[in-house]
Symmetry: C2
Subunit: 194 residues, 2 copies
Amino acid sequence: MSDTRGYHHGDLRRTLLTAAVQAIEESGPAALSLRDLARRAGVSHAAPAHHFGDRAGLFTAIAAQGFDTLADTLTGAGDELLDLGVAYVRFAVGHRAHFEVMFHPDLYRTDDAELRAARERSGAVLRAGLAHRSGRPTPAADGPQGDVLAAWSIVHGFATLWLAGALPAGLGEDPGDAARSVIRHLFTPAPGTD
Amino acid sequence: MSDTRGYHHGDLRRTLLTAAVQAIEESGPAALSLRDLARRAGVSHAAPAHHFGDRAGLFTAIAAQGFDTLADTLTGAGDELLDLGVAYVRFAVGHRAHFEVMFHPDLYRTDDAELRAARERSGAVLRAGLAHRSGRPTPAADGPQGDVLAAWSIVHGFATLWLAGALPAGLGEDPGDAARSVIRHLFTPAPGTD
DNA sequence: CACCGTATCTTGTCGTTGACAAGATACGGT
DNA sequence: ACCGTATCTTGTCAACGACAAGATACGGTG
């Protein structure tokens, strides 16, 4: 269950990761402090550096974990195109710490091997799911898979705006439901007849 | 032209703002240092604090400036719905420092008066432009202006993904052109026939 | 022109942080 | 029992944000 078996602390790497995710959810990635993390875990201030090298290394691990989780989430989504988009939004809001780190490459090392693998995997799942479920075998003439990018853009944009608190009130509590009624407008001719 | 008339430095507040924007474009908001800003402007390390109070105050000023510029940009956009979206994306990529700060409210003070006014103004311009140009007088039954949110989401998502470097290669150099071919898929029935 | 109030900027300082170096500790294999 | 190594601690340094107190220069008033 744990990749680093019980040493002095037992499972410090995993403990630090979960503590970091929680801290980011509370105060954002910018406010994350390695020393505060060490205090929460009850270890010395330099202990995190051994597992992650530096701050960027910690964010790299979080991003990789996030891309892996996203791939799993999308794989388990429903068969409808709509369900895939809703799953994307639900992941973003439900794992906002991971999501925020994942799409801020200046926080981590984009050339990390484990990260690249996870990112590529989630990207492949997303593209495959969108392309397959859109029921369109060949992409249109306007650039590479413009409809896939349109679908990705709308769900990513909605999730980002939701997390930023930029959306107007009155959308309800559940971001998934709100997203569903918004994504429905993609590939829809004119009035909101459904 | 300048709100703080020539004192010791002359126009320190404006100088610091432009230097901050440039620094953020180079290394992101997280790496911004007030002391480094002071060094670039050739003043003492505590000079910025007088004009902005603290780091959050500086980001507040940048965000307000960004929302104002966005409102102006959208006001001057073309008559087509597509043009409005392209203008949004062009602003995001052309003013990435402002854009990134604007949609990270944990960086600044959301209750600042000047900021709230600018944010509301740009929001009103965006909503009015989208609602007017979509040629749909009454919103659909699915929530408050679902189509406006869909349009906002797709342009915001595309801009965010572009800035994060998450989009695949082959979209060309100009984000505006790429955005146009992607946004076109909104409100479009099935295949890419246009 | 002399004076004063005030905005602007400087100097000095404190606690915190990230990063690095060197040493101590505990585990696993032989 | 022993040794190599991964894990963690202690110590240190430069940089940073924030605050306090003082110096400087401007604008207005007499």
